[in-house]
């Protein structure tokens, strides 16, 4: 008897747990489905909220003309997965630019006023999601103008889909040169491609010290770093430098002394290279340990992060690095170079708009990273091109981009008509001086004189 009741009790308990579990799972799913569209819809509302906003606009502006329409720009962005951080930054940058444009009268096409909407979906840093989102944006949401997803890898996945439907796509997070050698007609690059990462650094050396002669390049063995290194070698030779050393190290190298040892006697004027975070730090440390002297030492990626100095201390002093953008740049309408037209927010305005967006998205008081600036610049370039084309046809807009020469808070923007590669935007050069990152090049953006030669 006692045994039977026990079994019965246990059985009932199991059933209760199972039922409760099923209910909880359902609840969870419901929640999930509720939040996802919300996430994706609120800032990038569909037609419904769009008309509401139009109505509001019309009311508040009390204009005679009610001819305010909505133009939707779409994007797959990584809000989760391995690129979540960069994706969120890109999103906030794009939203800040959209907000600035709308606050400053939207864009005029054919006498009609358009307010911008930014519609995005989370691609989960997943290449398969990227392709389906791009397809959905174009076919279901009717979007003709797109930002690419973050990173070269995902951009390479998105580009063929946009190409197939003839939608313009702006790459703001894909520095690879390779994607632009595939013959895509509708893909346009906003950030500086890998092959030109070190051109600003070499230009700076040439300007500060015309005597400098020899260049050594030491880089990580992977696609991105190799493209950077080969681009740097070609450009150095073009400027009349002699490339005396060109060596790579494996991606997971723990000790670079064999590669660096010969540089001790060589004493090149310029030593550049690196790859990503970990190896860049290792490179800087071992250059210092071995006592290798060069008038300029430039390293990719790693020095741009604050923990570079935390980890290396004195050894970080004087090291320069190329960067797409830094919040401290001083590009302004007054420094607009010949042949370029100023457009968009000033640096301070951009930071202000970015901070508002960040607050709205519950990210607190944060500064924009270069990822945010890349995406914002893409929106500005696109908006200006649409205005210039005076048409919403993607072919006309793509055509107009070829003649566009913009100067923005992000610097110069100009594309190669043939490939869509970015040829206007230059990397800025930062340097660690007395424990602080300062911008030392180009002159229009510099905060301080470069410390040269490195002590």
């Amino acid at each position: 008897m006692a045994g039977k009741t026990l079994y019965l009790g246990v059985g009932i308990l199991i059933i209760i747990i199972l039922v409760a579990g099923v209910f909880m799972m359902q609840g969870g799913e419901e929640q999930a489905t509720q939040t996802t569209p919300q996430e994706a819809q609120t800032p990038a509302a569909g037609a419904e909220t769009g008309t509401k906003q139009e109505a509001q606009e019309a009311k508040t502006e009390t204009q005679t003309e009610a001819e305010v329409e909505t133009l939707v720009i779409g994007a797959p962005l990584s809000l989760s997965g391995k690129y979540a951080k960069e994706g969120e930054m890109s999103l906030m940058g794009a939203l800040a630019a959209v907000k600035w444009i709308n606050d400053n009268g939207g864009i005029m096409v054919n006498g009609k006023k358009y307010m911008l909407e930014f519609k995005f979906y989370d691609d989960e840093s997943n290449p398969d999601r990227v392709t389906s989102i791009v397809e959905r944006l174009i076919t279901q949401d009717g979007v003709n103008f797109l930002l690419a997803p973050y990173s070269s890898g995902l951009t390479a996945k998105a580009a063929p889909v946009a190409e197939r439907y003839g939608a313009v796509m702006l790459s703001h997070g894909g520095a690879s040169d390779k994607i632009f050698q595939q013959g895509y007609d509708y893909l346009v690059q906003i950030l500086t491609p890998a092959s030109r990462y070190f051109t600003s650094v070499l230009d700076m050396v040439k300007a500060v010290d015309p005597e400098a002669k020899t260049v050594a390049i030491v880089y990580k063995e992977n696609e991105f770093s190799r493209t950077v290194a080969e681009g740097a070698r070609a450009y150095a030779e073009k400027l009349g430098f002699e490339v005396v050393y060109f060596q790579s190290y494996p991606a997971d190298a723990q000790d670079l002394t064999p590669v660096l040892q010969p540089l001790k006697d060589m004493q090149p004027d310029v030593l550049i290279g690196g790859g990503h975070f970990a190896d860049g730090q290792l490179l800087a440390r071992q250059i210092n340990e071995l006592g290798i002297k060069a008038k300029l030492i430039g390293i990719l990626v790693a020095p741009a992060l604050p923990d570079f100095y935390e980890n290396l201390g004195e050894a970080a002093e004087g090291i320069v690095y190329p960067s797409q953008w830094e919040p401290g740049v001083t590009f302004s309408p007054d420094t607009t170079p010949q042949g370029y037209e100023w457009y968009g927010p000033t640096v301070d305005e951009f930071i202000k708009y970015f901070k508002e967006v960040a607050k709205e998205r519950g990210k607190g008081d944060i500064m924009p990273s270069y990822h945010a600036a890349d995406a914002a610049a893409a929106i500005l370039f696109l908006a200006k091109a649409i205005e210039q084309a005076n048409s919403l046809d993607p072919d006309d807009v793509r055509q107009a981009m070829n003649d566009l020469a913009l100067f923005t808070f992000y610097g110069k923007l100009k594309i190669d008509p043939e490939t869509g590669l970015q040829i206007g935007h230059d990397m800025i050069v930062g340097q660690w001086q007395n424990g602080n990152k300062v911008i030392v090049w180009p002159k229009e953006a510099a905060q301080a004189e470069p410390l040269y030669p490195r002590p």
Binding site: S248, Q254, P258, Q261, L282, E289, E314
Partner: protein, 295 residues
């Protein structure tokens, strides 16, 4: 033309990194020697030691050589915990079970460290200036790291060859049943040996951190698991002094093959040194399948 200065420099650096490789392999070989278990999670324990040094130095300002003691304590603790929780039940289990279990332990450690410390690659600066070794300027911290490796090996050697405990360990290695018959508590010896092996491994992580001072992240150990296996197989699985010497040989060979490869035009030598090191392994195994130091 081979530059003599370059050869000497690579000899010195090869010797130094080789000593570190050596001490980082001793624990692996010791555990295999006594328990006949291949610790696939080896590298994760090295990573733990590196974090002990990083944290003690950056947060509390403890000088890195002293952190080796802390790592030894952490190592004994981890060794005992994992022995009594997992390894104890697997001593006579099929190989695949022990491989999986130690692999799981490694993943567990990596993910715990990642959860608390994040996946960022970290480093610190402990600069003692440079010294001349055979005319080559070397960071003193690297030399100190190598010296502590030798000291640590000395301690292990003394424990195994000069103490009663060591005698019992050697007895178990030679003949488990025989040891049992004469009253050796085999289970306890297993526990102690595993703990000692993990102790050396974690401590070698501290020494490695002292040597490199950068690239400390949750997955840093994987490359040392790989190199550790190569060195252990080269030495002959189980041999403790053999593992150390094989480590030195591996370091020297890696660096010297770099010099040789550098004289060939149009290739990237550092990328190729590893394949050369594996070629060496292949040749050694062809000539002496049981390893260099195995009777």
């Amino acid at each position: 033309m081979v530059d003599v200065g370059l050869v000497v420099a690579n000899l010195v650096y090869g010797l130094l990194i080789g000593i570190i490789y050596g001490i980082a392999t001793v624990g692996l070989n010791m555990i295999f020697g006594v328990l006949k278990i291949v610790n696939v999670g080896h590298g994760a324990f090295i990573m733990v030691g590196a974090y002990v040094t990083l944290l003690l130095f950056t947060l509390a300002g403890v000088t890195p050589p002293l952190t080796i003691l802390a790592s030894m304590a952490v190592g004994i603790g981890l060794g005992l915990i994992f022995y009594y929780l997992v390894i104890k039940y697997l001593v006579d289990a099929p190989e695949l079970a022990t491989l999986l279990a130690t692999f799981a332990i490694g993943v567990l450690l990596q993910e715990i460290v990642k959860a608390f410390m994040g996946a960022d690659s970290r480093g610190f600066t402990w600069n003692l200036g440079n010294v001349e070794v055979a005319g080559v300027s070397v960071a003193l911290s690297k030399v100190v790291a190598a010296l502590f490796s030798i000291a640590l090996l000395g301690i292990i050697y003394l424990v195994i060859y000069r103490t009663k405990l060591g005698l019992a360990i050697r007895a178990v290695v030679q003949d488990r049943e025989g040891a049992m018959v004469v009253g050796v508590d085999v289970d306890r010896i297993y526990a102690v040996s595993f703990a000692l092996g993990i102790m050396v491994t974690v401590a070698s992580g501290s020494i490695l951190a002292m040597y490199l001072q950068s690239g400390i992240h949750p997955y840093m150990g994987e490359i040392y698991t790989l190199k550790g296996f190569v060195i252990a197989v080269m030495a002959g699985l189980g041999s403790i002094p053999g593992a150390f010497i094989a480590g030195i040989l591996f370091g020297l060979f890696e660096n010297l093959s770099y010099v040789a490869l550098q004289s060939i035009e149009g290739i990237q030598p550092l990328v190729l040194t590893r394949s050369i090191a594996f070629l060496l392994l292949l040749i050694i195994l062809l000539v002496k399948p049981s390893g260099l130091f195995q009777r």
